[in-house]
Amino acid sequence: MQHSLNKKAAVIALIATVICVVVSFYGSRKLQNFDPALIAYLFGTLFALFGGIYRYCVWLQRPPTWMYFKRTWQLAFTGKIFAHIYSLIADAVKNLLFQSFIYPRSKKRWIAHFMLASGCLAAFAITIPLTLGWINFTLDPASALDPGTTKLYAANFFGFKVMNFKLGSVMAFLIFHALTWCSWFVIAGAVVFLVRRLTNAGLIATQTFEGDLLPLILLIIISVTGLGLNFSYAFMKGIAYDFMSVTHAIAVILFLVWIPFGKFFHIIQRPAQIGAHIYRREGEKKGMAVCPYTGDKFTTQMHVDDLKTVTKQLGFDFTLEDGTSHLDYSPEGKRSLLAKAHLKARQEGGNLFG
């Protein structure tokens, strides 16, 4: 298959990356708050941003994706806008934050996915702003100079102080170990999925190493080496710290570079599910399509009409002689029509069996 650069997507991705660099330059107070130890992570993050937006834009240009994208925003900003915003937020909490659609598939899978996803999303929320220099921590100068007082630490966002906390406090422990908690969540979730992928016959038949197993292995490596960094300086006097930090960096950068192209793209893709829900809900209000064969309602008329447009854009034409379309029929209607056509052909052939 020949791949060529999609110029529109490349320009949008480049603009977004440049904006991110500019925001990070000024957000880190002209690199004053930027941590040079994270330079490799910075380039990995910028590549992931460029690649993620590039792929997203290429993806949006596909006729069915564009149809859903366009309709979602049209429907969201038509009629009761606040009601739509409320349902969008409620749906996002239910399906993106808690991934509740996985629960009916299996309780164990939902728990594992929730741990994996929340661990990853929390780690993104912490590490990306840290890498870009948007967040930094400073020691309060007044308490630092007074040997008798507890040291105060400040968390800053874009150089503005957001909160203070005492060194040695529970809050400090929780904040400084935030990535440790994320790692445990990710390891627990990834191990459940890895065991499932190594034992479920259906998955073994259809999975690929690079598409399904490697992402889990990579997440486990990232989390274990991340924990190893903490373990090394807390309990091993820094032994093996260099090894852990290099392995961790390589795994994280591979992960970042891979986000736009592999399994992890589904994180960026998943909000489209909410668009599909709005599309269905608002389409029902406009009216349902009735199958000419079964006489039953089967989907929204908007869906049928949009599919006729999309299939034509994709090079299919299901138009019938009378001007109607094969797409006007429900799945059951289509199956019945096929069976009846087969019966007719057999009858005309003079023998029902052959």
């Binding site: 999975q207 289509k334 096929l338």
Partner: protein, 189 residues
Amino acid sequence: METTAYKTEMEFFVDMQRCIGCKACEMACAECETNGHESMIHVNYVERAVTIQTTVQVCMHCDDPVCAKVCPADAIAKDDFGVVHSANNARCIGCSNCVMACPFGVPKKEEKYDMMMKCNMCYDRTSAGKKPMCATVCPSQALFYGTREEISRMRPNSTPVNKFIFGEQEVTTKVNIMMPKGSTHLKVH
């Protein structure tokens, strides 16, 4: 999917007139490991009041699958053997585009999972050189999985056809339907 024992000389042949509506295939289909124990095959009565005709419908595995093309999430893929796989569950957004666009009415939207599922020709079995579950249990051989030589020996008065006409659209498939001898296509509309 990387290393398989898929037998490329084996093909699927469907003869709806042989279907007796026993639904053994439905039960067997639910045993397929790749479906998560959901039955994907469709057995329906057609105009029950006037005929005993039933329809049995597996995925026809189109050469140019409409379901994959209309999928906004790139969740459906055709492999090198021509098998069109069920939705990648990490990607499927449950929009039902594939369900409504498939000319054969095959994909199912499993509302409880908010995702589409469909027959993938029992890939756990066919990739290991075995027959799909439905073809294994069908008592009347309305569903048959074997070689061209076997089917021509068994059905000397029939011809396997894999071209279907839906109005302006011609669809060719991996799965064959048994037609009167000499037929070249099945015109649905």
